[in-house]
């Protein structure tokens, strides 16, 4: 089956029922996308499909054939994405395990809402768990990312 991930085409031999997450991690070596729950409860596996945030752990890869998948590795190229820059500036990360998912969710929000309100941020990112409790800094970093992107 043909997969387009971070702009590159891949041929993957696996049953269509395999979750996209494990294809990304174990077949393509893109380990930035994390496994946390396997049932769309934690958001650690968030990727973009056609610009929309999607939980890759519950998405059978067969459903993605031919569509454009972006992972944390493909979010930015030479220069960091505004969300990533804001995350560093705001000193958000702790253990860091959930952060690729948080960042992908935040980037998806800013795509559809460049200047999100606090309520927008809360609504968009409450599908992403962080056991270290970096939520306060995530809120601040999303606001900062919006500024960076708008500057």
């Amino acid at each position: 089956m043909k997969l387009i991930v971070n702009g590159k085409e891949h041929e993957v031999m696996t049953p269509g029922e395999t979750p996209l997450l494990w294809v990304l991690r174990d077949f393509l070596g893109l380990t930035g996308t994390k496994y946390g729950c396997g049932m769309a409860q934690c958001g650690a596996c968030t990727v973009h499909i056609d610009d929309q945030a999607v939980r890759s752990c519950v998405l059978p890869v067969g459903a993605v054939a031919g569509r454009s998948v972006t992972t944390i590795e493909g979010l930015s190229s030479a220069e960091l994405h505004p969300v990533q820059r804001a995350w560093i500036e705001t000193d958000v990360v702790q253990c860091g395990y959930c952060q690729p998912g948080q960042i992908m969710a935040a980037a998806a929000l800013l795509k559809v809402k460049a200047k999100p309100s606090d309520a927008d941020i809360d609504a968009a990112l409450c599908g992403n768990l962080c056991r270290c409790g970096t939520y306060q800094r995530i809120r601040a970093a999303v606001r900062r990312a919006s500024e960076i992107a708008g500057a």
Partner: protein, 720 residues
């Protein structure tokens, strides 16, 4: 700590790591008594030093590589320890690189004598060792420069990665090779606190970039050619054993390479995780369940309650409680309960083991390198030094990855050994949630008698719950006359008891057979809630303001008072709040630091919402205020999750929770505004990773009482 003042008492060594043109600084510390204790089970005495082995390497490319003796699990040690080195080294901060150290005696904990991360000890235990490593390197670089310039080293100084003397200047990278050849000085002067440039200044984390780009490697991300993934079927109840199993269907799953039985169950080894999981789910296993299938939370509560009526073993006592109680004007009795809790680290447990002819390599996010190394060695019949441990980033630890039994490493070693190939054992979320090693369930029975001034003259507290340390190598040292110190910490040593002439703290340690473990803040996670809630009850019975009541009881405890007053002041204690919002306060000392929190809470349709938490912390010398604030925010979220949601329950021996839909964690929209205020202090540093947790549950419960008049004595807090 005196040992650290004199460098010459330690064996100094240099190793040729990273090529000849580098300066390598390391110490070898002889093991202390705890080591011997912890090693009785497995680890041998520290022998030869492996290489590379150092705290610090300066490369010809100007890089300054700091090796961490502790594991980065979110607490920020990846940044804190380099600050200590850089403070003395005077290097260019942008040239710092950080690595986890290998497992080796050189990196043994300065207080515990094994390589480990826990007990909120990393910063204070390394405060001298890492500064000295930096100072030693600086002195050797200065000597090398002075020799080259033929000047008195005293006329030179280090500055931003250069040695400077008059108009002359040489970079550390250019000096490293020459410095490496010098005999290290036997003494180094450390800066006085007034000279510090980095310690005490907010510093951004050094691991951010790799963590925001997805490049940071966690245990689960380890990949190399030939590595297989295994998922293990474990008994559905604790203590259960495999009676028989059929693996035909599992083996027929595409991608499955092997099915092997190990002591903990049956492992399906496959080319990738999904095949292993599908294969594991296809196993047909008959279990010999054993008595574990009788576990039932409600039954255990009854048993605990019955025990709580009996005095138990003495953990602390003074005066005559019975007599004082008889004479008290007001008497209060209360029963408090806290459930079993899972750590639920975001990264589920995993461990990669590569067996080899002459040794094995392990990649895992561990808090317990020494124990894991020894345990894996015994599985393979190897010498400890033949086991190489690569510590990856930890996707959360909270104690879960510091297992005295090293069970997840031992299991992976068995799987790799039986399968005869490199294997990464991955726990699914459900495996992790149901895999035990919980914070124990606790029940406390309290009685207090108040004197005429409303202050307690008698206090009796009977604590019931499983010992974490029983059966571990730590038991000998930390279980005294049957009392596990971690069961009663925060209660038996409560500062309030000093003001209560008659008190008794008793302990029962039942053995229901559930694997239990330290969970962020350990004993303080229950004693903090119980003591700070009950003191609030006493204040209510005495018709005194909860803040004022604490002030009176803590009048001889300046650091408690300091944070209490600071939090109260910053929160505007006593000032009006928006309609429907109420305050609660709590103060607790743990791991050498003092934290007070004021929570602002509203209750709507029995739903508790926490809007704001004002947190005051006195952790002595604060190395990185940004990190301390982060840990306070983190502790509040961790404690609040337990206060509002956390509960692991048993029915017919089965853990009822399995994933985040039935073991919910706090989410972004529930995050209160947390304001952290750090007390300026020159006291010895205390712990910070755990100390934010204990006060939040009682602060919220006390606020809920203020809001509703209902005293909730059981976690998670439920109003309906």
């Amino acid at each position: 700590m005196d040992a650290f003042k004199d460098v010459s008492r330690r064996q100094f060594f240099r190793a040729s790591a990273g090529g000849a043109a580098s300066l390598v600084i390391g110490f070898y510390l002889p093991a202390r008594s705890i080591l011997a204790m912890a090693q009785e089970t497995a680890a041998p005495a520290p022998a030869k030093l492996p290489s590379p082995n150092a705290f610090l390497r300066i490369g010809a490319d100007e890089s300054v590589t700091v090796l961490l003796a502790h594991s980065e699990m979110g607490q920020g040690i990846w940044t804190t320890l380099p600050i200590l080195i850089a403070e003395e080294l005077e290097c260019d901060w942008s040239k710092i690189r950080v690595e986890h150290a290998p497992a080796a005696p050189a990196y043994f904990h300065t207080a515990f004598g094994i390589q480990m991360t826990g007990g909120s000890t990393s910063t204070w235990s390394e405060f001298d060792r890492y500064r000295q490593a930096g100072a030693l390197a600086r002195e050797m670089l200065i000597q090398a420069a002075a020799a080259q310039w033929k000047v008195d080293p005293k006329s030179c100084r280090a500055e931003e990665g250069f040695v400077v003397c008059g108009g002359k200047k040489l970079s550390f990278g250019k000096l490293a090779a020459a410095a490496q050849k010098l005999t290290p000085p036997s003494r180094v002067e450390l800066k006085t606190s007034k000279e510090w440039k980095r310690i005490g200044k907010p510093t951004r984390r050094l691991d951010s970039r790799e963590k925001v780009t997805g490049r940071a490697e966690f245990g689960l991300d380890v990949r190399f050619p030939g590595l297989m993934t295994a998922v293990v079927a474990r008994a559905p109840v604790f203590g259960g054993k495999v009676k028989s199993f059929r693996a035909e269907k599992a083996k027929a799953t595409p991608g499955v390479k092997a099915v092997v039985q190990v002591p903990s169950g049956v492992a399906v080894v496959a080319e990738h995780f999904w095949a292993a999981k599908v294969g594991r789910d296809a196993l047909e296993i008959e279990w010999d369940l054993g008595p574990g299938s009788e576990l039932d939370t409600e039954k255990m509560r009854e048993d605990f309650r019955a025990l709580s009526q009996k005095p138990g073993l003495k953990a602390a006592a003074a005066g005559d409680v019975e007599t004082a109680m008889r004479g008290a004007g007001t008497k209060i009795e209360a029963e408090y309960e806290l459930p079993y809790l899972a750590h639920a680290t975001m990264e589920p447990l995993n461990c990669t083991v590569k067996p080899g002819r002459d040794g094995c390599e392990i990649w895992t996010g561990t808090q317990f390198q020494t124990g894991d190394q020894a345990a894996a060695a015994s599985v393979f019949g190897l010498e400890t030094e033949q086991v190489k441990i690569h510590t990856t980033f930890l996707g959360g630890g909270f104690g879960r990855r510091a297992t005295p039994s090293s069970h997840f490493v031992v299991e992976a070693a068995h799987v790799a050994k039986s399968a005869g190939m490199p294997v990464k054992v991955v726990w699914t979320r459900e495996d992790d949630m149901r895999g035990g090693y919980y914070r124990p369930m606790w029940m406390h029975r309290l009685n207090a008698g108040l004197g005429g001034d409303g202050l307690p003259i008698a206090w009796r507290q009977t604590i019931v719950g499983q010992s974490i340390l029983e059966g571990t190598p730590f038991a000998k040292m930390m279980i005294k006359e049957g009392v596990d110190e971690t069961s009663v910490e925060g209660a038996a040593d409560s500062p309030y008891l000093k003001a209560i002439p008659n008190h008794w703290i008793g302990l029962h340690s039942p053995r229901p057979g559930i694997p239990v473990l330290w969970w962020r803040s350990v004993g303080h996670s229950h004693t903090g809630f119980v003591v700070e809630s009950f003191v609030d009850e006493l204040a209510g019975a005495a018709k005194l303001d909860p803040l004022e009541y604490r002030r009176r009881l803590l009048k001889d405890h300046p650091r408690h008072l300091g944070v209490l007053n600071l939090a109260a002041e910053k929160a505007g204690w006593g000032n009006p709040l928006p309609q429907g919002t109420f305050r609660g306060i709590a103060v607790h000392e743990s791991f050498g630091s003092f934290v007070a929190q004021v929570a602002e809470v509203s209750v709507e349709k029995n739903r508790i919402r926490v809007h704001r938490v004002v947190c005051a912390v006195d952790c002595g010398i604060c190395v990185n205020p940004s990190g301390v604030a982060a840990q306070m925010e983190s502790g509040v979220v961790f404690g609040l999750t337990a206060a509002l949601y956390g509960e692991v329950r048993f029915k017919e021996g089965r853990v009822q929770q399995s994933n985040f839909h039935d073991y919910p964690l706090l989410r972004l929209h529930e995050m209160p505004r947390v304001e952290t205020h750090i007390v300026a202090s020159s006291e010895k540093s205390g712990g910070i990773g755990e100390t934010g947790v204990p006060p939040i549950a009682p602060a919220v419960a006390n606020a809920v009482f203020a809001a509703t008049g209902k005293r909730i004595r059981r976690l998670p807090l439920r109003l309906a």
